[in-house]
């Protein structure tokens, strides 16, 4: 229900800048941004487009959208996309825009309350969960129209069984980000395996750097570290089964993940639990840290131009040669239809538009820290980083959505977050960490399987 923010859920929202800080529950119109994005401020201030109240008033030629794109950049990108839709079809879209954290926090009460016809959401388990509650409209017919534009990976991530429930707009990879110039100056090499990786960390320490930035004040960033270590050590299938509750958390495999993490932790920024991911990103920007495992949205913290162009990444190296490094987290964001839209036809038209290459191009043009989901997206305007990200995703053997999108939301937010934070504070007590996780799993995964 209601209220507030906290984390997990929130996201990694690809989009813009903001994700979850300590606490935000509200919506300032995205905007507020001025300081950072002065030029765009105008986009945020216009409420005419967003005054929609709840759900209401969508007439024959109109539909409505509940959006979490309250931050400056994604909001501007979404506005541009919706404007193009209206221009093309004559259908007006009333948008109720909230900041992402508030939106996600309230998703349960939002969907049961007076939701708009369509809303922004995330692919994977996190979408199916709400479909299973009966809140989501079936858009399989929309997929008949747009399906050719997406790979099977996207199709599956957007489906609940045979039913298509989401139209993907974009995704973005999690990887080790770094500054090219820093690597050049110090002669650092991209590590391919554990040995090289540890050697690189030690070399960075010798140069007076924090090898790996980390800020887990919001709880979710450390999930990225868990995901990648688990996928590198135990493989993608194990990871997904673990997320689904089919495997226990107090097994030797999971314990090994934490043991590995504990050995690598000294290479991370100290005291991560009190630091926001933005502060951690700043340490990368300011050349205090050498690398940072995060989603591509880290680029939002890099001023456009020289700094942003200096940003690069490499895939997290393999830790076990029998497992390799073919699995990554690359969360997909998209749009869904609610169960009882006022104007289903217009809503589906909107979703079909969002599933077009054109919509993705328009969105990405304004919010370039993502990769368009559509096969035919125009990549000619992509930055080097985007091209590389598209390639990483394209070549990945397996793609996970991210811990809190791949498992039960209650488990992710009330068990995993506090336990990972405890672990970061006290990495020696792995017994307690795995037993807390297992206890939470037993409490929450009962009755379903």
């Amino acid at each position: 229900m209601p209220t507030r923010p906290r984390s997990t859920d929130k996201l990694y929202l690809p989009s813009s800048g903001l994700r979850t800080p300590v606490a935000r529950r509200s919506v300032l119109h995205g905007a507020m941004g001025a300081g950072a994005v002065g030029a765009l401020a105008a986009c945020g201030g216009d409420d005419a487009a967003t005054d929609s109240a709840s759900g209401g008033s969508a007439g024959a030629g109109a539909t409505s959208l509940g959006s979490n794109k309250g931050d400056e950049v994604p909001r501007a990108a979404e506005d541009a996309m919706l404007a193009a839709f209206t221009e093309a079809t004559g259908i007006e879209v009333e948008a109720n825009v909230q900041d992402n954290e508030t939106f996600q926090e309230n998703i349960n009460s939002y969907l049961q309350g007076t939701p708009q016809d369509t809303f922004t959401w995330f692919a994977g388990f996190r979408a199916r969960f709400f479909d299973d509650q009966g809140f989501i409209g079936d858009i399989t017919d929309v997929w008949d129209e747009i399906g050719d534009g997406f790979t099977d990976g996207f199709r599956e991530a957007s489906a609940n069984g045979d039913k298509q429930i989401l139209v993907p707009l974009y995704n973005y990879p999690w990887a080790m980000f770094y500054r090219k110039s820093l690597f050049e100056e110090n002669g650092y090499e991209i590590p391919e395996d554990r040995e090289a990786f540890v050697a690189l960390c030690e070399q960075m320490q010798g140069d007076g750097l924090n090898p790996i930035a980390l800020g887990d004040a919001d709880g979710w960033p450390a999930m990225g570290t868990f995901d990648i270590l688990n996928m590198r050590l135990n493989g993608y299938d194990f990871h997904i089964d673990l997320m689904a509750g089919d495997i226990d958390w107090d097994t030797a495999e999971v314990r090994r993940v934490f043991e590995e993490w504990a050995t690598l932790l000294p290479f991370h920024q100290p005291d991560p639990v009190g630091r926001t991911w933005q502060d951690a990103a700043a340490s990368l920007l300011q050349r205090e840290s050498g690398m940072y495992l995060l989603g591509m949205f880290v680029g939002e913290q890099f001023p456009e131009g020289e700094d942003r162009d200096d940003l690069d990444f490499f895939n997290f190296p393999e830790l076990d040669s029998s497992i390799g490094s073919g699995a990554i987290d690359a969360p997909i964001d998209g749009y869904m239809m609610t169960a009882n839209p006022e104007n289903e036809e217009a809503a589906k038209e909107l979703l079909a538009f969002i599933g077009s290459a054109e919509a993705g191009d328009i969105y990405i043009a304004t919010n370039p820290t993502n990769i368009a989901a559509h096969n035919d997206a125009d990549t000619s305007a992509y930055s080097e980083l985007q091209l590389k990200a598209a390639e990483l995703i394209g070549n990945a053997e397996n793609i996970a959505q991210f811990l809190d999108r791949d498992t039960r939301p209650d488990f992710a937010s009330t068990v995993v977050i506090p336990t990972l934070q405890t672990f970061l504070q006290n990495p020696d007590d792995i017994d307690r960490v795995v037993s807390d996780l297992q206890a939470g799993k037993e409490r929450l995964f009962t009755g379903e399987a």
Partner: protein, 304 residues
Amino acid sequence: MSTSTDLDRSSGTTGDSGTGRRGGAGQRPRRRVTPGRVVLYVALVVVSLAWLFPVLWAVMTSFRSYEFTAVNGYVSWGGFTLDNYVDAWTGGNFARYFLNTLIITVPAVLATLALASMAAFVLARFSWKLNIAMLIFFTAANLLPQQALLVPLYRFYLYVGLYDTYWAVIITHIAFQMGFCTFVLSNYMKTLPKELGEAAFVDGAGVWRQYWQVVLPLCRPPLAALATLQVTWVYNDFFWAVAFLSTGDKFPVTSALQNLRGQFFIDYNLVSAGSVIVAIPTLVVFFALQRHFVSGLTLGANKG
């Protein structure tokens, strides 16, 4: 209250007791400068500055450019600018959120005081079997944890169609705050001399007139104090608004501020400016009405 015997109506409102004493000329008797007093003053100044410091630090931060402090750190001098305020105000859509706050706060506070003063009047001025039970009923309600009401209330508002309307937030504030106001007002009313009411009865006034024309006007001090308190409480609440509103554009400013923090978390300067903007109305209300506050909260009567 044990010391009160009567209440001079004018003393409560003009404050010749509490606040007047402070300002009254010629009333400061025989204070000499002694070492003890010097220590006292020094201690008070030190404590006061310590208390003010965090706020002043935020104010100072809000006037400095991010570019400057990012390079020089916050423990530095220079980089002063008004840009943060301009940016926060223009980007933050504050006008809209302040309006929302007004829409919620004004009816909530007025209705709370109106209903609470009626209930307090009955409970304080009439002996009635259920008196104490009712007082407990009201007061205890105010002491319960907000979170405990959340889920059923959300369902209730959804069911009756008030979810995502200002009314849901307003009604909740009224009900939740009524306990405290009833308690304070009934305590105050008990100190009013019984004869007042009886005189009114002799004049043939009904209970409503007794309440409206006799008792309520005498309650101006606690009403002023409570109004001040309630305005700040309702203004500062972010809980109910976020719980019962799902349209972003309806949020009051305190809830909206959180977004600012989120978005520019790293730009402390800009967030500081937004915080100062949000803090100003409560500070103004508070300091403007400060004397009501102290004299009015005096639960017992003043003896001038």
